[in-house]
């Protein structure tokens, strides 16, 4: 039995004292989440939820309080069409139809016009955008014709992404031209704040780097945001990889003055935001922490997961990971390293669930991992990312966007720490 005993010794009046499997654990956590008013899940045990609802009903949990009744009354009455009575609405369906048509037709016309204008612009700009994208990628025609590998698949591929990168480059170029002007015409900054705000100052350096990670609201779509948050630097403690070197390069470039913004941005761009980068920084942190913890079970479980190809193998690996998730990691109990690795463990369980097509389970594992409140790390960023993916798969785009934004925030924090640590 992997967990502490569910029943007292000798009490076997029910047949539920067997060890739980992963499905039962997932159902239990889905039930717990539902009972706390959070969203339901595919594995939600309906019968148990109904029973729970009955029990709550029995103790008065189904009563509508006077306060809520009054609030709802206000909402209902405020939403009623006060000018038109119910009878007049019901007796004139044609008038209602024409009113809708009257609203819909101009909207449809406007949408068509926008579509035509945007389409024309795209057709005109497409060759130029493609040419400039190839130039930026340094691609020869042969390379451009070559099949993309997995990493290349993470690079900007749509004209929107290319255009966005162009806009960012333009912004960096503006900074580049502003820097010499400042050097010629302005006195040296006198205060810390001025120094920070000055071209090439720390604020600009951080801002330029953060621009890479910050997505505008319009990019709250999972794909765009996911690609952005993947620009995660390693956690400061794991620096030594490319991210940190590139961040330092960006900082160094910034200190030169002229062209600082451009070089910082270029350095960050060359740091190639990719989901693989986030995975690699997680791997580095994991590789550093695992030997310190010295838990062979974890090593074995991870190896099993890394080998898993089929769903059956994934489920087997999940069983091992689930057993680990419920107990202490390492011999010395829950140290801070163990807490981080536990977060990683939950992250991997969430990833497995996603791979198995169980976004609800993935969401639960991700939320459990985030509830651990470990220090900021690439694991946390990945948990937010997975939570976003799970929410998107569950048909909750707003929630997904929020999760992705959280992932971006974590990455920004890691980036700031990385830059500050390198200074």
């Amino acid at each position: 039995m992997s967990r502490d005993s569910l029943l007292p010794p000798g009490n076997s009046s029910d047949d539920e004292d067997a060890a739980e499997d992963a499905d039962e654990a997932a159902a239990a956590s889905a039930l717990a989440r539902a009972l706390e008013g959070r969203s339901g899940a595919a594995q939600l045990p309906d019968a148990a939820l109904e029973t729970a609802a009955l029990l709550r009903y029995s103790r008065g949990g189904a009563e509508l309080s006077e306060e809520r009744r009054a609030v709802l009354r206000q909402q209902v009455l405020a939403s009623l069409p006060s000018a038109a009575t119910g009878s007049s609405q019901a007796s004139s369906p044609h008038r209602s139809l024409w009113r809708w048509l009257g609203l819909a037709m101009p909207l449809a016309g406007a949408a068509a016009a926008v579509w035509l204008v945007v389409g024309a612009f795209e057709r005109a700009a497409e060759p130029e955008l493609a040419r400039r994208a190839d130039e930026r990628a340094g691609a020869t025609p042969e390379r451009a014709a070559a099949p993309r590998d997995d990493t290349a698949a993470e690079q900007p591929t749509t004209k929107y992404e290319i255009a966005r990168n162009e806009a960012e480059a333009d912004e960096a170029e503006k900074k580049q031209t502003a820097a010499p002007r400042a050097a010629r015409g302005m006195t040296a900054p006198q205060t810390t704040d001025e120094a920070e705000a000055a071209p090439g100052g720390a604020r600009e350096r951080r801002g330029a780097a953060a621009d890479e990670l910050r997505a505008p609201p319009a990019e709250a779509a999972p794909g765009a945001l996911a690609s952005r948050i993947a620009a995660a630097p390693s956690a400061p403690s794991t620096a030594g990889g490319n991210s940190r070197a590139q961040a330092s390069q960006a900082r160094g470039a910034g200190s030169i003055g002229a062209g600082a913004g451009l070089r910082a941005t270029e350095a960050k761009r060359s740091a190639a935001p990719s989901s693989e980068r986030l995975e690699r920084s997680s791997q580095r942190l994991r590789a550093r922490l695992q030997p310190k913890l010295g838990d062979a079970r974890l090593d074995h479980a991870y190896a099993e997961l890394d080998r898993a190809q089929t769903n059956a193998e994934l489920r087997q690996a999940r069983t091992s990971l689930t057993a680990l998730a419920s107990g202490a990691l390492g011999s010395a109990g829950d140290t801070s390293d163990a807490a981080l690795l536990r977060q990683d463990l939950f992250c991997r369980l969430a990833e497995v669930a996603l791979r198995l097509g169980q976004p609800d389970v993935a969401l639960d594992w991700a939320q459990r991992g985030l509830a651990l409140q470990a220090p900021p790390s690439p694991f946390e960023a990945r948990l937010w990312l997975i939570e976003g993916k799970a929410r998107a798969a569950l048909g909750d785009p707003d929630g997904a966007a929020k999760s992705y934004m959280k992932a971006i925030e974590v990455n920004e924090r890691l980036l700031d720490e990385s830059l500050d640590g390198a200074e």
Partner: protein, 210 residues
């Protein structure tokens, strides 16, 4: 059928409210809301949805729909409450159908209440059957006594004393995840004993009302 709803003075008052509401007086419609919202919520919506937030949404939507369709309602021998109850029930069933999209955790426990309800004599009564709280409490207590000590404690702490998961886990001396599993098993066990005590009807899960 409920005597209060069937009272002639009550129906006269309803007609007066309806006429004013049809003329666009939302305050008159507010009076109807005041009279029946709580009853609809507790007797119709909660047993079908089992989720307070969803029940509130359905209640608000019920009155919005009712206002839009006031012209359709023909006052007859029965209270407008039953008409509202039909709308409410259909709305609740709509929410069940939309579960996959909304992800809302909904629980229809009407069939679990069925053994405690008197046989209904009319379609209207089907929409407005009150469960005796006393009878329900007794039945639940009797079922709890059939469970093993640990399961009973888990259910009492979580549902009857309304303790948080964390508090329940601490008081039972288990980890949070273990408590979740324990509670799931306890609920399954409770349901098994509940159904053995009084077999529930085989209610169609999504019964559409006319």
């Amino acid at each position: 059928m409920d005597a209060e709803l069937n009272d002639s003075s009550q129906r006269l008052w309803e007609r007066s409210c309806l006429e004013r509401a049809r003329r666009g007086e939302t305050a008159a419609f507010g009076d109807i809301y005041d009279a029946y919202a709580k009853r609809l919520y507790e007797r119709v919506l909660m047993p079908v949805l089992g989720n307070p937030a969803a029940a509130e949404d359905a209640l608000a939507e019920t009155f919005r729909i009712a206002f839009q369709r006031l012209a359709d309602f023909q006052p007859g021998e029965v209270s407008i409450y039953y008409w509202l109850a039909r709308i409410a029930k259909n709305k609740a069933l709509d929410l069940h159908r939309a579960r996959k999209v909304t992800g809302r955790a909904l629980a229809n426990f009407e069939n679990l209440l069925e053994p405690l309800l008197a046989p209904h004599a009319s379609p209207e009564e089907l929409l407005d059957r009150e469960v005796s709280k006393h009878a329900l409490g007794q039945a639940i207590q009797a079922t709890l006594e059939q469970l093993n000590e640990r399961y009973r404690r888990a259910i009492e702490l979580r549902f009857l004393l309304d303790q948080s998961r964390e508090s329940c886990a601490e008081r039972l001396g288990v980890k949070l995840g273990t408590f979740d599993v324990l509670l799931l098993r306890a609920l399954r066990s409770f349901r098994k004993h509940w159904e053995e005590r009084a077999p529930t009807s085989s209610r169609p899960p999504e019964m559409a009302l006319p």
